[in-house]
Symmetry: C2
């Protein structure tokens, strides 16, 4: 896949969304408060079909709408001035949404808030058949640490979150491999834990013996500073400098890492996958594992044009939501071919590849949670 | 101060607020975006008088208001449907606020969100003359770690945040004293870092050599589960069990603590001060330092009725905002006397006390940031 094609396709996924027409016409009345509600709030609710029902008191309002999955649903007012209404069924997993009150776009006061679509705003969890992989369980838990590091190239104090595995504090002689994990466009360094539940996915995998304990570092990918008109001229250098020349040395100094190339991985979702591909291919001496979650793939041209890639990279993981792949079929001209075929062709060049499809999910967090769950089990082994 | 009097007084502060009438009638036009805005947002703004100006697009709305400091201010709509308006001058420091749009109380989409008043909602920072004490500077920074621990008594997995000082990760043989630090009613374990900036206060104090490096543990004080009708029968036992029997052992196992009594402190603001007083007096073998920030005091009766208190407690710190003390003068019958006099009387009993007054602040975070700043310099020395 060429860079330009990848960008075209990311644009389509980001800005058009992937909508599907609900088939059910009657609403199943088994709504329950969502797990992403503020403490003690009954609304928003979700039912077994994945419909989202919201409620807000706005006695003087003329029109109130729920805005989710790029569709606005009108709410209905009762005599007490309370507005209620629900969406069509949503896919399993996490979705951003907002309310419209007489033309004002505002967060739902009932939900917790998440950073995505370039704003802190409402999000909601639609229970998934495989939510067990990121459930909060009574297993040993790692820590999620906020660190502040000085970046000389940007002359700023920058934030990252660092997941350390459960045994990190009780094993002071042990050193750990590290995964650098990037969010997508419009998101930030809070996304992988708040929306992605990366720390719970890891705690559960480690408790089951399915993944080797490793550190995860999540920082801001500077993607929101990209003007969209200028994306075709996207320059990876500023972020690459922060990540490779500033953050990695900080992490290796302040955490008990294994700092050689075979013990460092990078992955990202959407724009973060785009960044991962560029940074890892520019730094084959530093990264052994590459994870691209709904963010392109490594092409045969990449393999042929990048000396050392075949020798140094232990795994290229490519993950997508099935609805993304469906969408690509109908937009084939933009994508330079079938992603599975491209990945298989790369494997034939001699690279270890893994292609993963998340069932019935789109360009959303459930695809990326599942991708991390699969990718983590293949790392550092 | 009797427990009943303390409760009366906490009620007054919590539910009446402390309002003052603005004197300035003309608005100084030097508004700037607040430091607590979402990335890239111009509004809300604050001017040099401490006025808060908000702006929101709501073309179909009939009435939009800014609700801050227990006063609602009407906004004015322009021809593009954008509403703008400002408050009277606010005190220095952090304040919760919200917007009303045609009768709906919602967060301002321009601000970051904070947990207080029992909801995630808008907050705004009014620059303070002493903001240097919690400024983000290029000094060595500690970490703020989210931990998850199992609580048998409540059968829940509970969250705490743990501040570790800058040298913690580079000094693997060193052990540290611990401060347990509680939020107030309507708040949670996120308050002391998000609103209080406790980690930055500590980083700066340590960089200047003004405080001994120590660990801070912040967990949810279960205060929001108290029905206010039932506050007079407030039972400290459930939270005391979580803190003393479950969290302290977890911290001592998973962090490099000094776990003896002289190296453990507890402090809290408002309801958290109330909890601190009860828990420390019940556990003199575990806590050597007591910090009460706008949350009552230790009385002469406490000293006389609690065997061992004089011998075991190294410091009782009592901090208040000056506007709280002003309010107490006019409500003298509720408070059992002047707090400074009470604290001085306790000192005469032979206890080491420290009474601190935060200038020109009320029952708000600026009083508590300053109290922590003062208290931290007296700990573990």
């Amino acid at each position: 896949m060429q860079q330009k094609q990848l960008i075209n396709w990311l644009m389509i996924l980001l800005f058009n969304g992937i909508c599907f027409t609900p088939k059910a016409q009657t609403v199943v009345e088994d709504f329950k408060p969502s797990s992403t509600n503020q403490p003690g709030r009954d609304y928003p609710m979700v039912n077994s079909e994945g419909r989202v029902r919201v409620q807000i008191k706005a006695p003087e309002a003329k029109r109130v709408q729920l805005d989710i999955g790029a569709v606005k649903y009108d709410l209905v007012k009762d005599t007490a001035g309370i507005w209620t209404g629900e969406s069509a069924p949503q896919d399993e997993g996490f979705h951003y949404y907002q309310l419209w009150i007489d033309g004002a776009a505002v967060p739902d006061p009932g939900s917790l808030y998440f950073y995505g679509a370039m704003r802190w705003g409402s999000g909601i969890e639609v229970p998934a058949h495989d939510q067990n992989i990121y459930a909060l369980k009574n297993v040993p838990h790692g820590q999620v640490r906020q660190i502040l590091f000085f970046s000389e190239s940007t002359n700023t104090i920058r934030r990252a979150f660092v997941y350390t595995p459960p045994d990190y504090e009780n094993n002071l002689n042990k050193r750990y491999p590290v995964l650098y994990l990037q969010h997508g466009f419009g998101e930030d360094e809070t996304g992988w834990t708040n929306q992605g539940k990366a720390h719970l996915i890891m705690d559960n995998l480690i408790a089951e013996g399915k993944a080797k304990p490793f550190i995860i570092v999540m920082t801001y990918g500077m993607t929101n500073e990209i003007e969209f008109g200028g994306l075709r001229n996207f320059d990876i250098k500023p972020f690459q400098t922060v990540l490779v020349d500033e953050l990695i040395p900080y992490i290796d100094k302040n955490f008990r890492t294994l700092s050689d190339q075979p013990n460092r991985a990078m992955a990202g979702l959407s724009m973060g996958g785009f960044e991962t591909r560029l940074i890892t291919l520019n730094n084959l001496d530093k990264f052994a594992y590459i994870g691209l979650f709904s963010g392109g793939t490594i092409s045969v041209e990449d393999v042929r044009n990048t000396p050392g890639l075949k020798q140094k990279v232990k795994l290229v993981f490519v993950g997508y939501g099935s609805r993304e792949l469906d969408s690509m079929k109908t937009n084939a001209r933009n994508f330079g071919g079938n992603l599975k075929d491209i990945t298989d062709a790369v494997a034939k060049e001699g690279l270890n590849t893994h292609f993963y499809v998340s069932p019935n999910t789109a360009h959303e967090w459930q695809s990326w949670r599942r991708s991390l769950y699969e990718f983590a089990q293949l790392l550092f082994k």
